[in-house]
């Protein structure tokens, strides 16, 4: 199983990388991790600080599962590719972000997930191994979210197009 780990373009997320390195001692997965400015050495996983957007796209295609911080960029890209995704929120109490907005983000998305959805939320890092083992056998044709989002009649893109075209 090929795993891409990504912590985004800004801050490192050592707690996550450490946990994955630990888990991988027993699972022996093919792990490629984008770790940000993090000079620590990690056993058993391949790391890089940053990926260019083309390199990142290549790695997204390559992997079977993405494990990431709860960043919207990663969630959107995995949704578009219908790619298995486990998100772990950064916590302000560990200095991983300025505030706990990643907890707010997952609170909005967690209700859309289930044991059969391709997206999973990992609130407690100790559960990561179990979630990984649950998501691994799922078919890639499963739904990204199991519960459809509430009906939304507004279309952001159309609104912006109309407004800009009308005013130009």
């Amino acid at each position: 199983m090929k795993v891409l780990v990504t912590v985004g373009a800004q801050l490192p997320f050592k707690r996550l990388i450490e946990a994955i390195s630990d888990i991988n001692k027993s699972l022996n997965l093919d792990v490629f991790a984008q770790v940000g400015e993090d000079s620590r050495d990690y056993d058993g996983i391949q790391v890089i600080d940053f990926l260019s957007s083309n390199e990142y796209k290549t790695k997204l295609d390559w992997c079977d599962i993405v494990i990431a911080h709860a960043g919207m960029g990663t969630i959107i890209q995995c949704l578009e590719l219908n790619k298995k995704l486990i998100v772990v929120p950064r916590l302000a109490k560990f200095g991983e972000h300025r505030n706990d907005h990643q907890l707010d983000t997952i609170s909005r998305f967690e209700p859309l997930t289930s044991s059969s959805s391709l997206m999973r939320v990992c609130r407690n890092i100790d559960d990561l191994k179990q979630i990984l083992e649950e998501i691994e056998p799922l078919s890639e044709t499963n739904d990204f979210f199991t519960t459809a989002k509430e009906k939304d009649t507004e279309n952001l893109g159309e609104y912006i197009k109309k407004m800009i075209d009308d005013e130009v």
Partner: protein, 150 residues
């Protein structure tokens, strides 16, 4: 050739959202100049209508003038009617420069901000012509909901 709009955001989640919103808006690709921040010194544009600027965050505010100057140059060169951004700090700076150069400006707050507007968004709503949130319950003075990216 002048552009209809400049779409600018920090590389990462902000830029992914902006790109997706612009794709949904379905503009002619030549109408838009995309601008994102450099991830590192070796970062280069990934397609023709993309330009890169330096990065800045709340911790490196001292770099703001560099970005302001880079945006000034891009706006004068491409003469967009609109500047649109999803954040973060470089987007806010672009809104300010855009206003100074008499452009129309729009702030679309990131969908990651589910409980209140981002810190930059709370400033942007006082400056931008249009401020949108992606969560209906965050609508307020000068802040509208017109849909979300996913």
């Amino acid at each position: 050739m002048s552009k209809k709009l400049i779409a600018i955001a920090s590389t990462g989640g902000h830029y992914v959202q902006l790109s997706r919103i612009m794709k949904q808006a379905n503009f002619d690709s030549n109408d838009i100049l995309y601008v994102r921040t450099k991830v590192n010194a070796n970062d280069t544009p990934s397609f023709e209508n993309e330009s890169l600027i330096e990065d800045v965050s709340r911790d490196t505010l001292i770099r703001s003038p560099i970005i302001a100057f880079q945006m000034l140059k891009l706006i004068l060169k491409h003469k967009p009617k609109w500047i649109i951004t999803t954040g973060a700090m470089p987007g806010l700076i672009s809104i300010v420069i855009g206003r100074l150069l008499l452009r129309k400006t729009m702030w679309v707050d990131s969908i990651a901000n589910t409980k209140q507007l981002s810190a930059s968004g709370r400033i942007a709503k006082k400056i931008a012509h249009k401020t949108l949130t992606q969560w209906p319950d965050l609508v307020g003075e000068n802040v509208q909901y017109k849909g979300r990216v996913i």
